[in-house]
Symmetry: C2
Subunit: 434 residues, 2 copies
């Protein structure tokens, strides 16, 4: 269905593929070829070699399913920015839970395949559309979009770009928008975080978890309870989590009650299902539950209907009278549904960049992966092995691997079973951690 078999899968794409033909389907889902052909020949970024000029690399979700549904494509031409748009040469992209949900068909803000996922990236402005006055070619920007950012070149509305501070790397800039805007708006716009508050942060080693922990410490005397598997406790403690809890071996509710018998002021809930009810019960009077995901639905690389049904069935529901008698707040947050609130979001980004300049927040990059490795990148996040942000790089993977064993293993790759590959990847990843 939806053309998934017609997609080329140029996995070991290298620098010599510049003239490969894009399929008809890929032209339809991304920039139309006619438009690409009409692109001005000028405005080539300095670091771009002339022979690459007329193609760019793009990740495309070919259909709903496992990791292999996201494929690398080489597209012809160069997109032309329309009025009010800029063309950005992308240097780094962020990977988010919504992308994982989208791959499984569980995120309705991502259009049907074939489509390019990706809600955020960073890069350099390479061309300006008409009526763009507040950006110039060469500006380093980070970008927040509904989807479509996992490409080497993107055209985006200028209001969705934010100038990067000089000292910020492209990887940090790609790690910042989704996680930090989410954490900031939850803690400050909904949670009303104040001195002496206590906050429960689930998945404290994830992108939002680390952002939220840092933001908690911009307010005086905030206590952070953070759940993560034991191997990540040292890292999240150093990052500011006051009480680490291994949710795999302990009941986090019991652990929190031992320390705070009355519960906590704020729970950030990315899990959904029965954990939302637990979060509600854990709130002190005047406490706030902020639900922002349904990670419990994601139990494997393909859609698990049982997990989806169970999360749905156990979905938290509350009526007005109960809320009133409990003096509690239940809030929902999802950045993906805040299209059209760019004034609000720009205000938040302005505050975040100020905090970054003051050294109060700093995105933590877990690992970087070239577009060719997107499947492994998604697996790392989906299996909760990351500490911080998983970053994708449009730049092709160099022929010389970072580690010797990678190169040796690469030769055998084709003959391995999926299971073997998976186990091996885990080992490699463990050796990369910190």
């Amino acid at each position: 269905m939806s053309g998934e078999d017609t997609f080329a899968q140029p996995h070991k794409a290298d620098l010599k593929q510049e003239n490969e033909q894009a399929t008809a389907e890929s032209r339809q889902e991304s920039q139309p070829a006619a438009e690409a052909a009409a692109a001005p020949a000028a405005a080539t970024a300095a670091e771009q070699s002339p022979e690459q000029e007329s193609t760019y690399r793009s990740l495309v979700l070919s259909g709903h399913g496992g990791y292999d549904k996201v494929k690398l494509q080489i597209k012809k031409g160069k997109p032309t920015p329309k009025n009010g748009e800029v063309l950005v040469r992308v240097k780094a992209c962020g990977l988010n839970f919504a992308d994982l949900m989208g791959r499984q068909g569980l995120y309705d803000r991502l259009p049907s395949p074939p489509v390019t996922p990706g809600m955020e990236c960073s890069g350099i402005i390479e061309a300006l559309g008409e009526e763009v006055t507040d950006r110039k070619v060469g500006d380093r920007v980070m970008v927040l979009y509904r989807f479509g950012m996992w490409q080497e070149l993107v055209t985006v509305t200028v209001s969705h770009t934010f100038l990067m501070p000089e000292e910020m790397s492209f990887e940090e800039a790609a790690a910042l928008p989704v996680n930090y805007i989410t954490a900031y708006m939850m803690l400050f716009d909904l949670g009303n975080l104040r001195p002496n508050h206590s906050v429960l942060i689930h998945m404290a080693a994830g992108g939002v978890g680390i952002a939220a922990t840092q933001l908690c410490h911009t307010v005086k005397d905030v206590t952070v309870f953070g759940t993560a598997s034991a191997s990540k406790h040292e890292a999240i403690s150093q990052g500011g989590v006051t009480h680490t809890i291994d949710y795999r071996t302990l009941d986090y509710v019991d652990e929190i009650r031992k320390i705070n018998p009355k519960g906590v002021d704020i729970v950030l809930d990315p899990l959904g299902g029965s954990d939302t009810q637990k979060a509600y019960n854990l709130l002190k009077p005047m406490g706030k539950l902020i639900t922002y995901g349904a990670a419990n639905m994601l139990t494997g690389q393909k859609r698990n209907l049982l997990a989806v049904a169970k999360t749905w069935y156990n979905q938290f529901s509350i009526n007005a009278l109960n809320l009133m008698h409990a003096n509690k707040a239940v809030c929902g947050y999802h950045l993906g549904y805040l299209d059209g609130e760019f004034e609000l979001i720009t205000q938040v980004v302005t505050k975040l960049l100020e905090l970054y300049r003051q050294g109060k927040i700093k995105p933590r990059v877990d690992s970087t992966w070239h577009f060719e490795e997107v499947g492994d990148a998604m697996r790392r996040m989906q299996e909760r092995n990351n500490i911080g942000k998983v970053i994708l790089l449009p730049e092709p993977k160099k022929e010389v691997p970072k580690k010797e064993e990678d190169k040796t293993d690469e030769k055998k790759e084709e003959s391995k079973s999926e299971e073997e590959k998976k186990e091996e990847q885990q080992e490699i990843l463990k050796s990369r951690e910190n």
Copy 2:
């Protein structure tokens, strides 16, 4: 049932009733007679005449039902403050919606009859229990309690008393605690009110409505939509409501959408039932609905089972996923269920008294009624005729009435039907407004 027929109804109680015998039931529900007998003979307030020393006036809910279920009793003796308590000679009491709900048996924080209602009062400290160091005899205080404040003398835990600013009248002090704490915590702790926000305040001429309107204007550029019947619009406009809406003749949702097509940032919802759903729909993204009552249940002086059932049936309910996709918050607030949060409440009262001293808030007293007139006071509030706070005075009604027509009518009172009395009262009240 529950002794309602055994209650004396000394409605025209005057200064000569000091030695009237309290019934056995009244002794049980208030201060035990033995304890009262043991009260020290000293600490008589200066303005209290010696012959009144051993009795005090108390309103008692004798059973669930109409206005006549709240009866005036004369109790013997004087309560003795225990450790950590003070004895307060009450000068004014506030009337609240919870008291009206309680009379109908719809408020589970009020114990079963016979019981004295009343969540707030103001007065003068007349005696100190042991271990009370931060209050002295003669201090003017306002008091917040779960119930029991509609009496001439009350013993209360010292932490539930707040010193009144010098310039504050007893009537203002009795009007402040419930309404202003409620409005403050809803707007600032839950609603996170900020500059440029828009707020919908239902029943904008009520006690909470007026408090909330004033508090909205402590923040820059807040737009207030206020619903009230047309006759009150001038008063609430002067009080700070930006857009007045007559909910009796217009659809308030339509009216607000005409001015703010995207909706509002905060809705304070005292109505419940289907109005809560309307409030939720009216929220902008990141908006907050704060539900704090079910006034829709109160449609007459006696419990209306149909109204209760309808309000209950139409009760708003929401699940986590919907909240998340909408980026909205649903909060419940009820001061009556915040027992044990006195640290939090003391912080709020401290801020409120500071705002009062700065002239930024000022309770508006709608009308004052002697204990003998409690039925009329309740009717005034229940029929939504008040603009501001309805206040009860323990002090007996003087024999010379305020207006000539009152005196004339008093003679005929006994022979009038309930309907006649009601109509007449409305007329009198209209003449008193403002």
